[in-house]
C-alpha cells in the first residue's frame, strides 16, 4: 500500500511537534505500528485517528476491535481470591478486593491487554512541551450509581486523596516524587490539570487502571466504601458479603454501551485447588487469575479455554552490591550466567513466559531495545569470572525468599545451577509475611538479605521497576545498588516524552544493568485466566482486573 502524503499533511497540521515526531517515525519505518499505536495513545491521540494515520502511511487499517457480540442476559460466575481487607479505594492493595472495586468503579483511562491506553472517564489527555503538566478532558454525562454527575471536582478529590500522605493511601508510593497533594487542579467542570514534580513521559499510566487505586468516586466519599460501592461502571452492586462473595447487576444508566450480562456473581476462594475443582465441576465460569504451576491440570483440559496475556510480572533475584562475595560485579554476572533461561521458560513456566535479560525491560514494552543481546547460560565464562574475582574455589551463601507461586521451585533450580561454579546456596524459604517483615531497611528479610527472590506484579510501563528497586535511594532497593550513572539514565528515561528518546535511554540502561547485574530478571510470566468453553467476550488485564461488560455464555 502506498503512502498518502496529502492526508498525512492534513492530519499533521493540528498536531504538536511531539505527535508529529511520532508520525514521522511511523512513516520512516523507525517505529513499528504496534509501538506507534501504544505510544500515540499515551500522548492522547484517539484510536480512530491513529488508524487513519496508519492507513495514510500505507500500513493498511488497524485491526478491528469490534468482535462478534454474544447473547445478552447471561449470569457470569467468577472464582476469585478473597478480598484480604475492607474494600476501600484508598488503602486497598490485594487482587481480590481490587477486582470487586473495579466491577463498579472506573478509571480515567484503561491500560488494555495490549498495553495500549484506552479512554474511559477521560476522553483525551495531552502533555505540555516538557511533560510537567498533563491536561485531561473528562467525558460528559457520566453518572454515579448514586445519581450525581461525575465532574472535575470528583476527579480532583479522588486523585488528591491518593496523593495525601495522611490518608494511608496505597498509591502514595506511585505518586511520591511525581504528584503531590494539591497538584491536581480543576480548570472547568470537564477539564483537570496535573502539575508534576518532574517531567514524566508516562504519567497517563499512573492515572489509568495500571495504578489500581485510581478509580474516580464522588468527592464526598468519607471512607465507608462497602456501604455504597459507588462508581460509574457498567455494573452496580447487588450484594457484598465479606469473605464469601459478591454479585452485581447491569447498570441501565451506563454512559457507554450497556453491559451484556444481566448479572455477575463472584465467589471468593482462599486457595487455587478449590477454584480449579469449581471450574471443572461447572460451578463457576471463570477463574480470574491462575498461576501456571497451580493450574497445570487445566492447561490441556479440552473443556477449558485459557486466556494468556503477555505481562511484565516477574520474580526479582537481588544480590547485595555492598557487602560479601556478591559485592564484586563479576561474581553477580557469573551467577546470572548459570541460569538456563530457556529451561525456565519451557519447563518451570510451561512455555507461558518470556525470557528476561536482567533488566526490567520486558519484551512487551515498546521502549525496550531489542538489539541488546540476550544473556544465555555460559558456565565456562561464569567460571572464568569467578577466577578473575579470586573466588575460583567458590563460596557459601544464603538465598532467602518467600513461599509464593513458583518461587520455591525457582530457588531450587538456581541452587542446582550455581553448584557448577562452586557456589553453595542455603535456601531459607519463609512465609510471605516473614519474608517482607516490616518492609523497611533493617526490619525486613526482603530488604536486608544478601540474596533473595521477590515477586513483582505487572505494570504497563517500567517506571516503577526502574525507580524503587534500583535507584540509589529507592525504597525497595534490596540489592543496595548505588550507581550515579544508572540514576541519571533512569531519570532521563522517565522524563522522556518521545518514544525514540525512551528507546535510546532504555538501551543504555539495559547494557548498564547487564554489566552490573544487581538483580537477575530470569523470565516475565504470562497472566492466565481460565474460562469454561462457550464463555466469550471476557477481557482480563494483567493487573488482575476483569472486564465483563461484553461477556456472554453459549
Amino acid at each position: 500500500m502506498s503512502k498518502n502524503h496529502s492526508i498525512l499533511d492534513l492530519i499533521r497540521r493540528n498536531r504538536t511537534p511531539l505527535e508529529n515526531h511520532l508520525i514521522d517515525g511511523l512513516v520512516d519505518g523507525r517505529v513499528s505500528r504496534r509501538d506507534f499505536v501504544r505510544h500515540g495513545s499515551l500522548l492522547g491521540l484517539s484510536l480512530p485517528l491513529l488508524g487513519r494515520i496508519g492507513m495514510a502511511a500505507g500500513l493498511g487499517g488497524m485491526p478491528s476491535l469490534a468482535r462478534a457480540q454474544g447473547a445478552p442476559g447471561a449470569t457470569i460466575r467468577v472464582a476469585s481470591s478473597v478480598p484480604a481487607a475492607t474494600i476501600d479505594p484508598v488503602s486497598i492493595a490485594d487482587a481480590g478486593g481490587l477486582l470487586i472495586m473495579q466491577q463498579v468503579a472506573e478509571f480515567l483511562c484503561v491500560d488494555g491487554p495490549d498495553l495500549v491506553l484506552q479512554p474511559a472517564l477521560a476522553e483525551s489527555w495531552k502533555p505540555n512541551d516538557n511533560g510537567t503538566v498533563w491536561t485531561f478532558k473528562l467525558r460528559k454525562g457520566v453518572k454515579f450509581h448514586s445519581g450525581g454527575e461525575m465532574k472535575a471536582d470528583d476527579v480532583v478529590a479522588s486523585i488528591d486523596r491518593l496523593a495525601d500522605p495522611a490518608n494511608s493511601s496505597n498509591a502514595l508510593s506511585v505518586f511520591t516524587g511525581i504528584l503531590q497533594k494539591g497538584a491536581s487542579k480543576k480548570v472547568d467542570d470537564y477539564t483537570v490539570e496535573f502539575h508534576l514534580d518532574a517531567p514524566n513521559g508516562n504519567f497517563p499510566y499512573m492515572l489509568s487502571s495500571d495504578n489500581y487505586n485510581a478509580v474516580i468516586i464522588p468527592a464526598s466519599y468519607k471512607g465507608d466504601y462497602e456501604k455504597s460501592f459507588d462508581g460509574t461502571g457498567p455494573f452496580r452492586i447487588e450484594k457484598y458479603t465479606a469473605k464469601v462473595g459478591a454479585s452485581f447487576v447491569r447498570n441501565e444508566d451506563y454512559w457507554g454501551p450497556k453491559a451484556l450480562p444481566e448479572r455477575t456473581e463472584f465467589t471468593f476462594f482462599t486457595d487455587m485447588q478449590p477454584q480449579i475443582l469449581a471450574l471443572q465441576g461447572g460451578q463457576v465460569d471463570i477463574i480470574n487469575q491462575m498461576p501456571v504451576l497451580a493450574g497445570v491440570a487445566l492447561l490441556n483440559d479440552p473443556n477449558i479455554d485459557i486466556i494468556s496475556l503477555k505481562s511484565s510480572a516477574h520474580q526479582q533475584l537481588h544480590m547485595r552490591c555492598d557487602e560479601g562475595p556478591l559485592k564484586d560485579a563479576r561474581v553477580r554476572r557469573a551467577i546470572a550466567l548459570c541460569l538456563d533461561r530457556d529451561k525456565l521458560a519451557a519447563g518451570l513456566m510451561k512455555g507461558r513466559s518470556a525470557l528476561g535479560n536482567d533488566s526490567p525491560f520486558a519484551a512487551v514494552y515498546p521502549s525496550t531495545d531489542t538489539s541488546v543481546p540476550q544473556r544465555k547460560q555460559d558456565i565456562a565464562q561464569a567460571k572464568q569470572l569467578m577466577e578473575a574475582a579470586g573466588l575460583g574455589q567458590g563460596f557459601k551463601i544464603t538465598l532467602t525468599t518467600e513461599r509464593y507461586l513458583e518461587i520455591p521451585e525457582y530457588a531450587q533450580l538456581i541452587q542446582n545451577w550455581v553448584k557448577e561454579i562452586g557456589v553453595e546456596l542455603d535456601l531459607n524459604i519463609l512465609d510471605q509475611s516473614g519474608y517482607y517483615g516490616d518492609a523497611v531497611f533493617g526490619k525486613s528479610n526482603w530488604l536486608d538479605s544478601v540474596m533473595g527472590i521477590t515477586d513483582y506484579g505487572h505494570r504497563g510501563v517500567p517506571n516503577v521497576y526502574l525507580a524503587a528497586p534500583l535507584k540509589s535511594e529507592g525504597t525497595w532497593n534490596a540489592a543496595h545498588f548505588k550507581n550515579k550513572d544508572y540514576d541519571a539514565l533512569a531519570t532521563s528515561y522517565i522524563a522522556a516524552l518521545d518514544l525514540e528518546a525512551q528507546k535510546a535511554d532504555a538501551g543504555k540502561i539495559q547494557k548498564l544493568l547487564l554489566e552490573e547485574t544487581p538483580v537477575i530478571f530470569g523470565y516475565f510470566y504470562d497472566y492466565l485466566t481460565a474460562t469454561a468453553k462457550g464463555v466469550a467476550g471476557v477481557q482480563p488485564t494483567a493487573m488482575s482486573q476483569l472486564f465483563l461488560d461484553k461477556a456472554s455464555k453459549a
Partner: protein, 304 residues
Amino acid sequence: MTLFLLSIMVFLGGQVLPGNVGRAILGPFADQRAVDALNHTLGVDRPLLAQYWGWISNFVQGDMGTSYIFRSPVAPFVIDALGNSMKLAAVAFVLVVPIGILGGVVAALNLNRPLDRIISLGGLSVTVLPEFVTGIILILIFGVWLRWLPISAAWPRDAGFFTQLYYLILPSLPLFLVLFGYIARMARSGMIEALDSDYTRTAVLKGLPWRTVIWRHVLRNALLPTITVIATQTGYLIGGLVVIETLFRYQGIGSLIFTAARGKDFPMLESGILTIGIVYAVATLVADFLYSVLNPRIRLGSDQ
C-alpha cells in the same frame, strides 16, 4: 482463669508474628507514611498493655471489638463463623457417632472374625489419612466425576435446611473418615472389656436374654470411655477444621482465626480463639454430665 491466660498467650503470641497490621493491610510495596497513618488510625501504635487492656475490658462486657482488617464489628463475623462450624460439626456428628459406635459394637461381638478385621483395619487406615487427602479424593469422585454433590460447602443464598444439609454432606465425609476409626476402636475395646467382665457373666448366668444383657449391662458400661472421646473431639470438630474449611470454601471459625492470624487482626483473633476455648469448656462439661448420668457410681451428692 484458663480463658484469661489463653487470651494473654494469644495476645503475646500475636506480637511475635512478623510485620505489623498496617503493613499487612497495605502490602509490602506501600509507602511507609501510609502505613504509619493507618497504624495510627487503627490504634495499633499504642503501647501493648493499652491495646490489650482496651480490648479485654470491652470483651468481658460482651463487646468483641472492631476488626482491624474489615473495620467493622467482630461479633457478627464470629457468630456467623461459629454457627457455620456448628452446622458442619452437627452433620459430621450425626453421621459418625451412631455409625462409629455400631461399628465398634459389631466388631466386638464378632471378635477376631473377618468382620472385626475389616472394621478395625479399615477404620484405622482411613483415620491416618489426613483430611486434605481424603477431601480431594472425595471431591474428585462425588463432585467432579459423578457430579452428585456440590464441591463447595457454601450454599446459595436463602437456602433452606435441606439444601444446606445437601451442601454439607461432602465436607462432613472426610471428618467422618477421620473420626470413624477412632470412635469404633474405643467402642470396640469398651465392649470387649465389658463383655469380659464379671457382671456380664453374672447377668448371663442368671438367665437374662442376650439382648437384654447387651442393652442394659454391656453397652451402658462399654460406652463410657467412648463418650469422653466424643466430647474431646467436639472441640476439634468445631475449631480445628481449617483444612476442611479451606478445601470446601466454608466460612467456619477455623478459617476465620487463620485469616485473622495472617492479617494480625488482633480483636478478631482473640475473639475467635476465646470462643473456641469456651466451646471446649462447654463440651467437656457436657461430657462430664453425660458420664454421671450413665455411670451411677460417680453421681455426686447421692447416697446410693
